[in-house]
């Protein structure tokens, strides 16, 4: 009876565990294993190379360029995108007319796919027929026009801008939810004590929002560092390697040069870096809370 009971209970989790084991755990082990091999993904012959893939990554200039470029997009997302999100959340937190309409509109870009966002903006950015250049010409700023996504100087920033455009609505929602948990009495008390809006923001809002800031920045970093579909749909990594990021490199190693082992080691290195970054941030936040 007891055994039958236990088996019955197991049967509830069986489908989930089965799917999870096959599609998550097995691939996870394969990544670790394949990273030690040289393999083209088709032939049954795999050559064991030990840690040589990892040594190669250390000297792979394009890989580190891609890492730096992802870092650049992340920096813009952390500063520009999150500052915008916070400002808007702060503006909507007061009982403002139409607050809900703004909320609905700001979250519209995040529900669109990266392919859609990328292709629409690619058309707006187009060097010959794009709307952006048309407007710049109309305003008499012809010297500012360029082929935004083919110019190595502008391509990465153009992508970072669209990434922020797509993402700020998400930060906005989280910030707004955080702001709404702050008791109104605190604001009133500060006002009675003669504090102005900026002082209230600095002395009441920011300290109480620190956990939310940390959460949003961790998720922004993890999300933005791994961005790649947007890039595939806007530039495909070009011009040259000027908009490559780590995940597009992993994809290139796999599909482009059929080096599955190398692609797996790139994935491990990148995953480890991301994990380290979030660990440091969690540590820092704990430290700050104690201080």
């Amino acid at each position: 009876m007891k055994l039958k009971d236990t088996l019955e209970n197991y049967s509830f989790v069986l489908p989930a565990v089965l799917i999870f084991s096959i599609f998550y755990i097995v691939p996870l082990f394969w990544v670790l294993q394949l990273s030690m091999y040289q393999w083209d993904g088709i032939l049954p012959t795999k050559v064991f190379v030990g840690f040589r893939n990892f040594l190669e990554i250390a000297q792979d200039k394009i890989w580190w360029k891609a890492m730096y470029q992802a870092g650049y997009i992340t920096l813009i997302a952390l500063t520009f995108q999150n500052a915008l999100a916070l400002t808007l959340a702060w503006a909507c937190d007061r009982d403002i007319k139409g607050g809900n309409i703004y909320r609905v509109i700001f979250y519209l870009p995040p529900v669109l796919s990266e392919v859609v966002v990328g292709l629409v903006w690619r058309w707006i950015y187009d060097g010959n027929y794009g709307l952006l250049n048309y407007w710049l010409n109309g305003l008499g700023w012809a010297h500012l026009t360029t082929d935004w996504l083919s110019n190595p100087k502008t391509a990465l920033t153009a992508i970072a801008t669209i990434h922020s455009w797509k993402g700020f609505g998400w930060g906005f929602i989280i910030f707004l939810a955080g702001l709404q948990t702050i008791p109104r009495q605190l604001y009133e008390a500060a006002r009675v004590d003669g504090a102005n809006s900026w002082q209230i923001f600095k002395k009441v809002t920011i300290p109480l929002m620190t956990p939310v800031f940390i959460l949003v920045s961790i998720l922004t970093i993890l999300g933005t560092m791994q961005v790649f579909v947007l890039i595939l749909s806007m530039t495909g990594g070009g011009p040259g390697y000027h908009t490559e990021v780590p995940v597009t490199r992993i994809l290139a190693s796999m599909v482009g040069s059929s080096r599955f082992g190398y692609a797996c080691s790139q994935g491990i290195i990148f995953g480890a870096i991301l994990l380290a970054v979030s660990f440091i941030q969690i540590r820092l936040s704990k430290h700050m809370r104690q201080a």
């Binding site: 236990t6 019955e8 209970n9 197991y10 509830f12 989790v13 489908p15 989930a16 799917i19 999870f20 599609f23 998550y24 691939p27 990544v31 394949l34 993904g41 915008l84 400002t87 808007l88 503006a91 007061r94 403002i96 007319k97 703004y102 909320r103 609905v104 509109i105 700001f106 979250y107 519209l108 529900v111 669109l112 796919s113 990266e114 392919v115 859609v116 966002v117 629409v120 058309w123 707006i124 010959n128 027929y129 709307l131 455009w165 929602i173 989280i174 959460l215 949003v216 791994q226 790649f228 579909v229 995940v247 992993i250 994809l251 599909v255 599955f260 797996c264 994935g267 995953g271 991301l274």
Partner: protein, 282 residues
Amino acid sequence: MTDGTRYKIEGFLKNASVHLLLITVAVTCIFPLLWMIGSALKTQQTVFSDMSIIPRHPVWSNFYHAWTKGGFGMYFFNSVIYTVTVVFGIVIVSSLAAFAFSRLKFPGKNVLFYMFLAAMMIPLPGSFVPLYVLMTKLHLVNTRIGYILCMINVGLSFSIYLLKTFFDKMPPALEDAARIDGCSKLGIWWNVALPLARPAIAVIIIFNSLNVWNEYILATLIFSSKSLMPLQRGLMIFQGTHITEYPLLMAGITITVFPIILVYFLMQKHIIKGITAGAIVE
């Protein structure tokens, strides 16, 4: 001027500048979509010269051509199949598991649950590489079922977590009453737990639908026949082969986003609640 009127004017100006900021940003959010629809209504000749947002002579036939010749009708049908089956699969599989994690006893329960949690926390960039290898080994490349199973797995961890927190709050008295009435465990899951978890299930359905509808990379790696591809993949193929046919491309994109926007406006309350819940999990 009295102090009272000055405060009123100051307040008005402050309010107006806040609204100005909000409206500006709101316009930048909507504008690209309007531009997309506007471009979809132009012809191959006018799209490069007519820069008005609403064209004077809108051409609706682009939608028809995108749907038929562009293959978007087929891609749309595929996207619907994948979204419906994957979401259905996730709801059933994750609610069964979450029910067990919350309500039933068996050895190794916590280990298994934390395994799902850990999968949510650990970043696995490039996990598509081994997944593709797996699909090849299982002969699931270029099959619908292979893609569906992969995508069910993607949504599983979050859904199990969300449902478990819901089932944990379920009053034991309800469960006991059902048991006394002769309900089996499966019966309690179906008759008591699932109806109570309706709000959580709504969040799971909406988020996973958006996620499957918008998924690109696995669809790219798994499918090689056009007849099996979903919309996002179809868009990239169309863009690659008809690079300058902007009106048709924009019509295709409009077809792709239309259901998303519709669902979003209908369900925005659940969606906004869900994001906050999702962020707290992570």
